[in-house]
Amino acid sequence: MKDNKKQSIWAIIPAKNEQEKIAGVVAGCIKQNANVVVVDDGSDDNTAYAAEKAGAVVLRHKVNLGKGSALKTGCVYAIKKGAKEIITIDADGQHRPGDIPKFLDGLKKSDIVFGYRKLNRDMPLLLRIGNWGIYFITKVLFGVNILDTQCGYRAFKAEIFEKIKWESLDYSMESEVISKVAKKRISYTQTEIDTIYADRYKGTTVIDGIKIVLNILWWRITG
């Protein structure tokens, strides 16, 4: 039974230059009985080596394409290998692998589970404002109450991948998936996760935020 479960749960970790943190994230996911695939998105450090040593399957993008593209590569591979449940988790240690069971519980009730971080003082102020802004715009345009639209910690059933498959190469994919969930009325639940910010200079920038908002408007218009 354990082997069947291990066969079906896959954690996808898109990574770029995370040689310090990746091993810990991989080990944490393996401890939760998940298969782990790390997509090294054009790193110029030892991310791939560290991930492989920790026990992950490593797919290497020869050039950096972006988070959206890396996640898609991981999902395509995992589904090919028989994944039934897919968990997407960041490589920088922001997400605790110990929360994986919460996501798996959520998948018993819905097709996709969105993680949400509390908008508290642990989150940088600019990020808090940006996240709230995007949450508000998404709620108005799509009618969905996703508390943290930019949280990369999510889980979904492999069978809905084709429905939510995104075109965005970068961070915009987080919002693109939400727009598809809303338009195709895919069932979703949300689960609270801890807010951990090790590096305040990585992740989405103001420019990314503007791009995300413009993309959200575009997806609303194009239906």
Partner: protein, 114 residues
């Protein structure tokens, strides 16, 4: 149009014709693109040398100054060019993504099978 501006315009068009020809010889693009760009620069050179030929079109459009006509025409032309380049870049982006993904998965499977 003042003679200084005409001379500058003609010299600019001549320089662009030369660059167009040079890049054609370097196989940066094919015959079709070369002829298209050559026609663009020759048209530019013609309009700068004989701006009075545009007076008919200008009066039809309600434009009084030749410079306004050139600026508007230039804006329209470059808008189209930018849109075309955007589409081309998007297509290339998709192709690169596909290649990189296929390569990543195949490299791993090859390594795993050893």
């Amino acid at each position: 149009m003042t003679y200084t501006l005409k001379i500058i315009g003609i010299l600019f068009a001549a320089a662009m014709i030369y660059l167009t020809f040079l890049n054609f010889k370097r196989r940066s693009y094919g015959k079709k693109s070369f002829v298209l760009w050559l026609l663009v620069w020759l048209f530019f050179m013609f309009m700068v040398t004989f701006p009075e030929t545009a007076y008919g079109i200008m009066s039809g459009l309600g434009i009084q100054r030749t410079v306004d006509f050139f600026v508007m025409g230039g804006l329209l032309f470059f808008s189209v060019m930018i849109f075309y380049m955007y589409i081309s870049v998007k297509r290339i982006e998709k192709k690169v993504e596909g290649i990189v993904r296929r390569d990543a998965i195949m490299s791993h499977e090859k390594k795993a099978s050893k």
